[in-house]
Symmetry: C2
Subunit: 687 residues, 2 copies
Amino acid sequence: MSSQTQSRGKLVLVVGPSGAGKDTLMERALTDYACTQHVILTRRVITRPADAGGEDHQAMDESDFDDSLAAGEFLIHWDAHGLRYALRADIRNEIDQGRTVLANVSRKVIGAIVELGLPVAVIEVTASREVRARRLSMRGRETAGDILARLKTLDWQAPAGIAHYRIDNGADLTSGVERFLVTLASACGGDTPIRHLPIDTGPRLIGFLSLRHPLRDAIQALSAPRVEINILGRPLVLEVQWVDDDHWLPSDAIGLSRGTLARLGLIAGMPLQLQPAPPPAGSVALRRKLRGYSLNEEEFFRVVHDIADNRFDEASTGAFLASLANHLDDTEIIELTRARARIAQTLHWNRPMVVDKHSMGGLPGSRITLIVIPIVAAHGLTIPKASSRAITSPAGTADTMALFADVELGPDDVRRVVNGANGCIVWNGRLSHTPFDDMTNAIVRPLDLDSARMSVASILSKKLAAGVTHLVVDLPTGPQAKLQTLDKAEELKQLMESVGAALGMQVLARITDGTQPVGKGIGPNLEARDVLQVLDNAPDAPRDLRDKALDFAGALLDWAPDIAPGQGRARAEALLAGGHARAQFERIVDLQGRRQPPAAPGAFWADIEAQRSGRIRHVDIWRLNSIARLTGAPGDSLAGLDLAVRKGDDVRSGQPLYRLFTSTQHALERVVAFARAGNAFEIAEEP
Amino acid sequence: MSSQTQSRGKLVLVVGPSGAGKDTLMERALTDYACTQHVILTRRVITRPADAGGEDHQAMDESDFDDSLAAGEFLIHWDAHGLRYALRADIRNEIDQGRTVLANVSRKVIGAIVELGLPVAVIEVTASREVRARRLSMRGRETAGDILARLKTLDWQAPAGIAHYRIDNGADLTSGVERFLVTLASACGGDTPIRHLPIDTGPRLIGFLSLRHPLRDAIQALSAPRVEINILGRPLVLEVQWVDDDHWLPSDAIGLSRGTLARLGLIAGMPLQLQPAPPPAGSVALRRKLRGYSLNEEEFFRVVHDIADNRFDEASTGAFLASLANHLDDTEIIELTRARARIAQTLHWNRPMVVDKHSMGGLPGSRITLIVIPIVAAHGLTIPKASSRAITSPAGTADTMALFADVELGPDDVRRVVNGANGCIVWNGRLSHTPFDDMTNAIVRPLDLDSARMSVASILSKKLAAGVTHLVVDLPTGPQAKLQTLDKAEELKQLMESVGAALGMQVLARITDGTQPVGKGIGPNLEARDVLQVLDNAPDAPRDLRDKALDFAGALLDWAPDIAPGQGRARAEALLAGGHARAQFERIVDLQGRRQPPAAPGAFWADIEAQRSGRIRHVDIWRLNSIARLTGAPGDSLAGLDLAVRKGDDVRSGQPLYRLFTSTQHALERVVAFARAGNAFEIAEEP
């Protein structure tokens, strides 16, 4: 990926008899271990129907297969078990770009592939005949006769001069996958095995090397001694700490903490490629920015790319972020957005219009996303929505959706859900996170460096990379919201829309009321109840939540080619009232993976009453957030707070303002005491 | 020191029989181990002449002693061996400010001191009668009879309830000092012993703690998990890395790398006080600065103080430095200078006028300091000069002075030299360094954040803390100097002078020629030769070096109350020509500690010749620096480069431009090849 470490990738041919578990190993290795995030699993072209089960393949009938073959679209093709198989020719590009490409092929074509001149390694996966027989009969794809034919072992020898590895996959899946990863890393040139060291290095990425490591002098000669590792095609730089004790760390290994192993999705024993980290290519641009110059896309790209690869020390990154927060002109925002989009996870939809909604957040409740997406998807627009989990709030959209369905979906599953239901509501942690955020959040948040101008680049770059063409942005505005004044909100609205236009994206930013929660419930379970009431057109559904959701769905539908301008909201109302949104929601839930929703809120509850009569003049959102979090939300999804009144309501002394729900008596007592000391509602004295 | 960790200090009474080595232990502990930098060794008042040898004491005759006693200037007094002793009352202030104060007292007064209500601990230093007898006779201060009297052991018991430690100092000095430090740390409340861990953590200050350390939960609950240690009165914050292996690190210890031990001047076994590091008091001010506000002295003080104590992570420090480089208005420079002066090492001179000279540097050669100081000191002005060692240049003033005399003097020795010779030329590493620079140099230098405006605060704060009242600053200006244009130089001159005025310091900044070296030699030994030629009024002494030195000495002497304005330079010339400057230089060298100067430059040499005839139009200072460093200077003090020509000279093709000196044939070949590829002299073609 990095221009500094660009090296040709590798085509890793995974072979082995039917039932050895090749597909399962590869899928699990790619799904469960972050270290494989730059590894590509080639979908083979097979003359087998797409829905016939087994591996995810590209189905083709015989005649299309022949056409593609004639058009030179295949790298290689072969016949087996009465089917025709092929690898597409475009994997050559991926390999040239330094990617590791996994392909499940027949052993008999290895020789032919080697002759193509690609960098090839072979991993042979084996298992005993008994294990294979059991697996084949369990998957139930073949007849008993076919199984017998597939169980025949091939007398086979790898071509000379080709790196060839063999692993046994007869035991449990986890050890098979770990063995596969270790072998894959070796096949990709790794030669320095990872050793787990019992040191917790916190969020910092540190590699421990022996003072007797062969690269020591070369690394220490650098002005900033760091080591670059290559994780199956992803370069990453680690700070080095030196160990002077062979019992702690042998001289040929690299030591990583358990936290670093987990963060990078690596396992002990995997061999890595190491080299002294070259100076960051972006340092000239970074220093230019520090001296007050404006940067262009290419300069920003170099800096953010190097930050993502951990090539800069924290002080340099901190200085850069401070200078961004200090000055970022309108052109720079556009350039920075483009640069950031280039390192964000990219999704391709092959659809002319992909819509999305985004909120600047900060309001408790406000779960309109779970209503907007089904409405818009029910009309047929494509809306792949990735939402955050709560960081400092009582619930995030992903926390609430997680009550209904699995939200931790990878790109392939997201594509499957969207293909089936036009939309999805998933956690953004696996979908639209960027390595740049991973490296900078720990700096940006405590220093409060995330200026509104910077957030435009952050938000729009992710949308750009995710293939969004039309975006509605919610800008809640109020003294306790992220946008505190209408002037600031208006300025941000203009900026978002103009930057969007410069990037070829239609952006509509809407300034909304940010002075009180939207809906009644605060906390995952109570918010889910509100959402279902709206989707079910229940008479007591929170009106404000319904109205806001229809506004945003309507704005998105206004862009639909088959809806007349201004008619979007009416169409949204029809889809909601007719139950189409509700049905679409169920479709999305089924495709993401349905969960059994919890039945009722927390078993312990208490009401917090107004202490005087009068009109509610102000809701202290920060205080309300604190109270809601003290119930246990979002960690305890049954906990939360249910509002009985809204701003502007007239209340009598002793009338309940809201009800607190907790899962334990102790938590209830604590939060009640806290809420009674300050209930977040300001009531004007009666005249 | 820190307001956050302010705790009452400790009066540590060191007792023991004559010859046990108390004074030597205390002196060595304070001189050789940086961990004692905040420990004060009280000078006792003794009715013994100042020049009678032994410990550094304040001499007083009987009648003055009686007067001071009557005036309440003593904390405690006692008689011993026919002399009268006292501790001054002002040590109470030091203790109240959190300092550890060491005092050598008679055992018989301990009870009386305890009754004063001060926090007291007692360290008893012992040695066998034989060892003590040998030591007493070696120091030769007493008669044989006195020695016998002093050898009598006192039958003694520490008062009840007082922390009392005993150490044996009968073996070698180093183990005695280390035992003393460990005991002192215990006496000051240290309870967590330091364990050396075989991990090299680089420049970062890291403390390793066991995951089973009692403070673990309290530290991990912090938003930025760091631990504050107290090193004999100096608070300092360390990042924490956790160790999950009791064999590597017991749960009651703190692990430090060898580099951290060396940097903090600590030794394994010393117990430290630990507490979870509270959030930095300066973080509000730091974030204010990041958001573009101007800070006042108190805000700057909080931030720089916290940076000096390592309370901020590097990213925050980097962000702060970037925002300083980005914007620092004139008022802020004054406020920042005052704030930085408060954390710099302070010197008090009790003299109405203390002069100094400073150079922005960047020119090779240019060793005028070694001439200016003796001239000015010969006239009688006080000029305690602290200079830098080379960082990226072929020699610093301290490197050159180090050929003549010891330059690594602490504050007490500097005071002694200046008392004896009015001036000194010492390394600034131990005199005017600041913990702020220690923490930020590694960030400022690679990022090039040291703007001219920031350097005003940096320079003047150190001068202010060092008690300087009158300062001349050399601003070499030229395309390759730090100040590249006359406009920039003029701006900095005005700023320095006006900030100086606001601080009550007379500052005169002089813009000088920064387009070529001053003097002929580059490299410590050759520069020393130039200096001696000027001091000796040798006919072939470099004229430019002599002139520039006289200019600066004259400017300083113009401030002398007994010299008429404008007559300073004439007086400087008279002092130089009359040999007074030379004599003063020898006096300074003797007091600092004379060294045998090296006899001749490197044994290997070669001339670099002009490759065409013409007039020298330009000297490439950067290239010349690189060539000079490639000879081996300043590490090899005999290496360097001797200029034969100057800008404006007419040369013939083949005429030597300069001579290279090295200590090895290999180094010579390498530098000659490099110099021939580009000799740094631009010669205009003849018309």
